[in-house]
Each structure stands twice: as C-alpha cells, then as structure tokens.
C-alpha cells in the first residue's frame, strides 16, 4: 500500500501534481528525514495561517506542533522513518497542529514513506484532514444509538484479542477514543487486591487498592458486583483519589464465569459527568469484555490441555523404555510436576499403608533434605487410613481429596504443613499453602498400594475436577505400574519357585532313579538268590539219595572187606578200610553241603520271643568247643535279652562263632559283647584273626561266595537272610591281619 503511494508521489512527478494538490481540501506535507518541511500545499499553509513559502524549510515539529505533544510526535516520526513496522503502526494517526494564532487544530493523518528506487528512505508524505469539528461531534453529539452500534462492532475487536492484556488495551482505547471518556482504566481483581492494568488519560497516583479496604468505589463495585457511579467524588465518603482532580467516577464490574474479574473504570474532572446512559454503555462494554476474557481463558485452558496431552504423550514414550517400578513412578511424578505442581510426592505403601523404605518415597521438586525429612516424619499408615475413610468423603474431587486449610475441620485436624511452600504469597490466588491435596493409588480390587500427594500449584489456584482430571490418568497409571511390578515380582517368585521345584524334581528323579536302579538290582539279586534257593533245595534233595546209596554201598564194601580179613594181608586190609573210611568222611562232608543248600533254600519264618542272650551263646559254645589257643570272652550283662527267633538266631550266632574260630588258625581271642542303642540291640563278635580283604567285605554275605576250600558260601548268606527276616542287619568291620568284628543289629520290641 505504502509502496504504491510512493510510486504516485515520485519526487519528479510532484511538480506536475502540485496544482492538483493545491485544489484538494486536505493538508499535504512532505518532510525530510530531519523533519524539515519540503513541501506543503496551499490548503495546509492556509489552515496554519501562513504562506507556503513561510513554511517550506522550517522544522515541522518545532514550529507547527503544540509543545504538549511535540516530543511524542518526534518519537513517532523517528519510528516511522526507521522501519516499515513504524509506518504500518502509525499509518493513521490523529494529532493537533499549531496555527499561527496559537490555535490547536486536530488533524487525522495518513502517512507514507518516501523511498528512492534503490529502496532508500528519504522522507515522509502525510495527508491530513481537519477533524476538529468531527471530534467535537463525536464526543458530544454522537447519539446513544451510534455508540451502541459502535459497541456491537467493537465486540468483534475485543474477541479478536489474543491475550487478556490486549483486551484491557482495547477496552481503554474504546472508552477514550470511541466513546469519548477522558480518563479510562482497566482494574483487575488479583487475590486480595485491585490492580490497575492499563489506563488512558492522566496517570493514576496509585497502582493498587486492597480488596479489604473500607473505602474505594472500585472496591465497592467488586463487593456489590454492581455498577457504582459517583458524580461528586469530593463529597463521596467511599471515594479514594486515584487520579488527581477527578470529580466524577463510574465503576462497572466485569464478571467472568460468575466471578468479578475486574473493573472498568472511567473518570472525569467534571462534576456530574456520567449519566445513566453512560453507565449502560460501559455495562455493555463490560459484558463484551467478560465474554472476550472468558473466551481467552477457555483458549488458555485449551492450550494447557494441549500441553498436558503433549506431556502425556512424552510420558507414554518415556515410560516404554523403563521397567523398574520406581523409575516408572519417577516418570509419573515428573509428569505431574510438569503439569504445574511444584511439589509431588508419591509413596509406595504396604498393606498397613506404611512406607517400607526411603526408596519407596518418589518425589519431584523436593531437595534431598526434604526427602529425608519426609521419611523421618512420615505419617503413620493408621492416619492415612483415616484420611481415606468416609469422614473425608466430602473433600473428594474425583479420586483426589482436597482439604482446604480454611475449612474448620481441616484446621482442627491438621497441623501446619511440614514442608515450606514453594510458592510466594503473590503466586497464590485462591490456593492456600496449607491446603492438602492427595489421592490413593488403588488397584482394581480396591487395595491401596500407594499415595500421591501434590502441593504448590503453579497457577496458584485451587484444584477442580476439571484441572485434576489429567492427574487421575497418572494416578491410575501409577497404580497399574505398582500392580504390574507386584505381578512381575510374584511371577518371578513363582518362576524361581518353579525352577527350584524343577531342580528339586530333577534331584528327586535322580534319587528315585537311583533307588529304582538299586531296587531293580536288589530285585535281580533277590531273584538270583531265590533261584539259588530253589536250585539249592532241589539239588540238596536230589543229592541225598545218591549219598544214601554211597553210604549203603560203602557199608556193604566194608562188610566185604571184613569178610576177606582172613584171605588178605593185614596191611592191605588196613589200606582198604582207610579208603572206605575216607569215602564215608567225604559223604558226611557232602551231606553237610547238602544241608546248607537246603537251609538256604528254605523259607525263613520268624517268631520272635525274648531270649536270654547269655544262655544262647553258652549253649552254642558248649556244642562248638573253642579250639586250643583260642580264648573266648563273653561280656554280656546277665539278664540281657534279645527279641529273636531262638532256633534261627542260634544258627546265625553259631555260624559267626565257627567262622571266627576258623579265622584264627594260630589262635587268638573272640570277644562277644552286646549293647542297646536307639531301640536296636547290637551284638558284637570280635576276633583277632586273619581279617577280610577289603575287596571281599561286600561279597561275604553273598551266597556261594567263599574263600574256604571247603566252604559252601552259604553260611553267612543264610545268616544275613535270617537277620534281615528279623528286620535287623548284619555288618562286618575288618582289618587285614588284625581281625574282624561281626555286628548283628536286631530291633528291640517294646
């Protein structure tokens, strides 16, 4: 726009248009960069009461501008020539000029910059029209309807404002320029005071008035929520002088969302300046203002929500990479902190709502000292239980409990907050530093696993369901995180238990397998033994008859030998007899083997009775005399009894004793003694014989094992069977060359 104007007023073309410019009824002035007049048309010169020649070359501001606005206009001129922004801002401007006879004439200017072809600014061209008369008409003669029409139009201007600050400026501009009020200001309600935000006209001598002040028309307007008019301020008891020399004041409250947001205040140095019509106009403006502010606040709130959404999204992204529950909860408190709370404390609680360790207190905005303080002065779980009880239901906002300090119950129940508030007095609006705001972290089953408590809202305002809603999201998330952590822990524990169990199972399987193998081996051995038993029994029986025949035949042979005594040589006879005798001996020995075999094959049945051990041993020793050089010591207390089958146990002891005798061919000592221990009777047979080589110890109880040339290898095997049939054991301890000890253990029957 300004560029095109420059094209029109190219300096070379000026001369050709001068005549035309002289004809129009508008003032046209060209200034150089120093503010000296390069050109003025004759209309302009006439208006000022000079000739054109008298004005050209003179400084415009020093000579033709009233001193009251001279500096202001010089500054504006500097701005205009400095930047394109300047010309944009001051493209239209109204200011008075000074005529030759000292009269001020109000001119409405349109200004453009003069630029050379290479873009250099070399001056300004301003066209102005005399608006002195219109101005007067505007302020005095404009009808109420005109002003109403203006206000309707002005509403859209207000609504186009981007900030509350802009609204204030529009309001005071509208009041002073369009509605013609001399002095106008916008006063905002801030917590406990009324603060002047902007003004037009004279500068006020005070900036703020306390809301609890007894006087003050603005205060009255806030309290009554109604328009206050004073048309004779000096005689008004409520008036406080805010602007020097004011005689009339009109105060209209701006009510946003049912709360007095501020006051539109117009003043005049004239007495009785304001009519009812003025009051109605300002009230309409106040209504438009309230709408505009409400819209801006909604927008701010929308932006805040947008920020919260962004924060939530960031939080969600952050949280994905974190598995540790405390680290996750830390993200939660950070997110809440970023939503505008200077202190956030989240504590993990056990079933009694107690905190178990300092690590379970997760905070944002707290120093290490404060965290320590919190841990050392932690509120007991019982108190927290009370705080979630129905008594506190009336303080509930969603999942949160908001306890305003001014509440009588709260004031009675709670001591002053333990930590100092992070908010300065000025930062708090309706939030009190002692206010409490907390919420339980609840699992779906209703179990409380933690507590969130937040403090020091950045906006200084009390929480509402609306402002707490996004926090609830985090609250639920935190509870879920804790639940998940618990589940994960339980899962891990279960996994551990499972792997432990698996290990145990494996061990058990190993153990069982081993037992099974042993059992199998035992079974095989037993089967083998059983087979041996059966074979032994049948072999035993089958051998008896041939043995019998040999015996009979050797008897017959002996008789024949006897009968031939007189026909054969004595020597030959003796030889024959000795041969027959040896046959008989071998038959006897074979007979013993057959008996052993049949013993082994026999089913052993046990009938235990109390048997005197001494008498059994003595009986055995009387029928099996100890060979010479062998000393037998029996060291058994008299009356010592064992629970055993007498016949069978006698065979066992006989076998062991005879074996011991055979083990001491060079002589020695057999010591027999006994003791009771742990419901077992132990009978020891200790010899000082040859001993048993280590490799044979395991085998000596196996059937058919023998080291003797004349052994059946069944004696000890039978002993073992008999002892085991008593539910006892037979063991041997032996050292080669020193002797062996056989230990028979039998259970003692109660």
């Amino acid at each position: 726009m300004s560029k095109r104007n420059i094209d029109i007023f190219q300096i070379e073309e000026l001369d050709s248009v001068k005549k035309y410019l002289d004809l129009i009824s508008a003032i046209v002035v060209v200034l150089d960069l120093k503010g000296n007049v390069q050109y003025i048309n004759s209309y302009g010169a006439n208006l000022l009461g000079y000739n054109v020649e008298q004005i050209i070359g003179k400084n415009w501001f020093n000579n033709f501008i009233p001193s009251s606005v001279r500096k202001e206009l010089k500054d504006i001129f500097s701005t205009i020539i400095a930047t394109n922004n300047g010309i944009r801002k001051y493209h239209y401007y109204e200011n008075p000029v000074l005529s030759k006879n000292g009269e001020e004439i109000m001119i409405a200017w349109k200004n453009v910059l003069l630029e050379s072809e290479d873009g250099e600014i070399f001056g300004t061209l301003s066209t102005g029209i005399n608006i002195t008369e219109r101005k007067i008409l505007d302020t005095t003669k404009k009808t109420f309807e005109d002003k109403l029409a203006f206000l309707n139009y002005f509403a859209s201007t207000l609504n186009s404002a981007k900030s509350v600050r802009e609204v204030y400026e529009h309001v005071v501009d509208g009041l002073s320029k369009m509605l013609g009020f001399e002095y106008a200001m916008f006063i905002a309600v801030e917590k406990n005071i009324l603060r002047i935000k902007t003004f037009r006209g004279l500068k006020p001598i005070i900036e703020e008035i306390p809301l609890n002040s007894q006087k003050g028309l603005t205060v009255k307007a806030v309290k009554t929520r109604r328009t206050v008019i004073s048309n004779d301020t000096w005689n008004d008891k409520d008036y406080i002088e805010g602007v020097r020399g004011v005689r009339s004041e009109l105060c209209v409250p701006v009510i946003v969302n049912d709360t007095v947001y501020g006051i539109i205040d117009v003043q005049s140095k004239k007495i009785n300046a304001f009519s009812e019509e003025d009051a109605r106009l300002v009230e309409i403006l106040a209504a438009h203002t309230a709408t505009a502010i409400s819209n801006i606040e909604k927008q701010v709130s929308l932006e805040k929500q947008y920020k919260q959404l962004l924060s939530l999204m960031k939080f969600s992204i952050d949280i994905i990479g974190i598995s540790d529950v405390r680290a996750r909860l830390h993200k939660v408190v950070e997110a809440i902190y970023n939503l505008g709370w200077r202190r956030v404390v989240l504590s993990l609680r056990d079933e009694n709502l107690e905190i178990r360790s300092p690590e379970d207190i997760i905070t944002a905005g707290l120093s290490e000292e404060e965290r320590k303080f919190l841990w050392e002065h932690r509120t007991p779980g019982t108190l927290w239980k009370e705080r979630f009880s129905p008594i506190f239901d009336r303080y509930k906002i969603g999942q949160f409990y908001y306890l305003p300090y001014e509440d009588e119950f709260v004031m009675d129940t709670f001591s002053k907050n333990v930590l100092d508030s992070k908010l300065s007095e000025e930062e708090t609006l309706d939030w009190h530093p002692q206010d409490l705001l907390y919420a339980p972290l609840t699992l779906p089953d209703g179990k409380i696993v933690g507590i969130l408590s937040i403090d020091d809202p950045v906006d200084g305002r009390r929480p509402t369901q609306y402002t707490l809603a996004p926090l609830e999201l985090f609250l639920n998330y935190a509870a879920l995180a804790i639940e998940n952590a618990q589940l994960i822990r339980q899962l891990k524990e279960a996994q551990n238990r499972l792997s432990e169990y698996a290990l145990e199972l494996e061990n058990r399987v190993k153990e069982r397998t081993k037992e099974l193998l042993e059992a199998q081996e035992k079974l095989l051995r037993n089967e083998r033994l059983a087979t041996i038993g059966e074979v032994a029994a049948s072999v035993g029986h089958d051998l008896r008859n041939p043995l019998q025949v040999i015996l009979y035949e050797s008897f017959v042979l002996e008789n024949i030998v006897e009968k031939t005594a007189n026909v054969v040589d004595d020597k030959v006879l003796a030889n024959l007899k000795s041969h027959v005798q040896r046959i008989k001996e071998q038959v006897n020995y074979m007979n013993k083997i057959v008996s052993d075999l049949q013993d082994y094959g026999k089913q052993i049945t046990i009938k235990t009775v109390k048997v005197d051990l001494n008498s059994i041993i003595m009986n055995i020793l009387s029928t099996n005399k100890a060979p010479e050089k062998i000393n037998v010591i029996v060291n058994i207390p008299s009356g010592f009894t064992i629970d055993a089958d007498p016949e069978n146990i006698k065979r066992v002891f006989t076998n062991i004793i005879v074996n011991a005798f055979q083990a001491m061919p060079e002589g020695g000592t057999l010591t027999i003694y006994a003791e009771n221990e742990d419901k077992m009777t132990k009978i020891y047979f200790k010899d000082t014989g040859l001993g048993i080589p280590k490799e044979n110890i395991e085998k000596i109880f196996q059937p058919l094992f023998t080291t003797k040339a004349r052994g059946t290898g069944l004696g000890l095997a039978v002993c073992k069977r008999i002892v085991e049939a008593h539910n006892g054991t037979i063991e041997v301890e032996s050292e080669l060359g020193k002797g062996s000890t056989f230990i028979v253990k039998l259970p003692v029957k109660s």
């Binding site: 035993g540 041939p546 015996l551 009979y552 035949e553 017959v556």
Partner: protein, 151 residues
C-alpha cells in the same frame, strides 16, 4: 513168631538204587526184605503179607510218606515203622511220630545206625509181645489206681 523165622522188613522208597543197597544190607543181617518203589505197592504188600517192620521214605511219588505211614499204622498197628526223611525238621519229626512212627531218621542215614534202630525196634516188638499179658495186667492195675485217686 516161630523159631528160626527171619524177621520180615518192608522197604518203601522210590529210589531203586537205595532199595537194592538197603535190601542187600538188611538181608546180610538175616532179615527177610521186600521192597516197593511207591506207596500204593507198599500198602498192597503190607496188606497181603506179614511184616515186623517197615522202613518208609518220607517222599514218595504217589503220596506223602506220612500218609502211607498213617495208613499202615491204621491197618497194621503192630508193624514197627521207621521214617526216613531227606530234610531234618522238628515239624516233620513230630508229625511222623504222631502219625504212629516208631523212629525217625534223616537221610543220608548211616547204615550202622539204621541197623541198630531196626534191631532195637524188633527187640521192642518181641518184648512187647512176650510182655503183653503182664503189661495188660499192670496197665489195668495202674488205671484202677488212677481212677481211685481221681475219685
């Protein structure tokens, strides 16, 4: 029993070699011997002929030696009976004696011992026969005394 008449012995055993050897031994000692290789034959012979003594094996193919013993004892209580058993056990011995055996010997039995027992039992039998009348009188006398005592 007439003078000069050999004592008659029945041997029952399923082992033919044993029967042969024992028959020879016993005959050498002047006994009349008859043999049977199973219980039924033994029983049949015992029923037809007179015997002073029977030597029975406890294990026979067709019945238990003890069963044969019981049958002979029932039909011919006067025959002296000697049981031969392969496996020594108290139970067997008691059972045999209860069933009427007069002696109980274990296989393999020493022939001298067997002959000694055979002689003893035959002597017992002879004594029992000669003293029967005296004994009956004595027995009756004892019974009367006991009865009087119990009154």
């Amino acid at each position: 029993m007439g003078v000069g008449e050999k004592p008659r012995i029945l041997v029952v055993d399923d082992d033919l070699d044993i029967l042969q050897s024992l028959k020879e031994i016993l005959e050498t000692r002047g006994y009349h011997v008859e043999v049977a290789e199973n219980a039924q034959k033994g029983l049949d012979v015992a029923r037809k002929k007179f015997f002073n003594l029977a030597i029975l094996d406890i294990k026979l193919p067709d019945m238990e030696g003890t069963e044969l013993l019981a049958k002979i004892h029932k039909e011919k209580p006067e025959i002296m009976k000697i049981m031969l058993t392969g496996y020594p056990s108290l139970e067997n011995a008691v059972r045999a004696l209860n069933l009427g055996a007069d002696a109980y010997l274990m296989k393999p039995v020493n022939p001298e011992e067997l002959l000694k027992v055979v002689e003893e039992k035959l002597k017992e039998q002879r004594e029992a026969e000669t003293m029967t009348e005296e004994k009956v009188a004595e027995w009756i006398e004892k019974r009367i005394q006991k009865l009087e005592q119990s009154k």
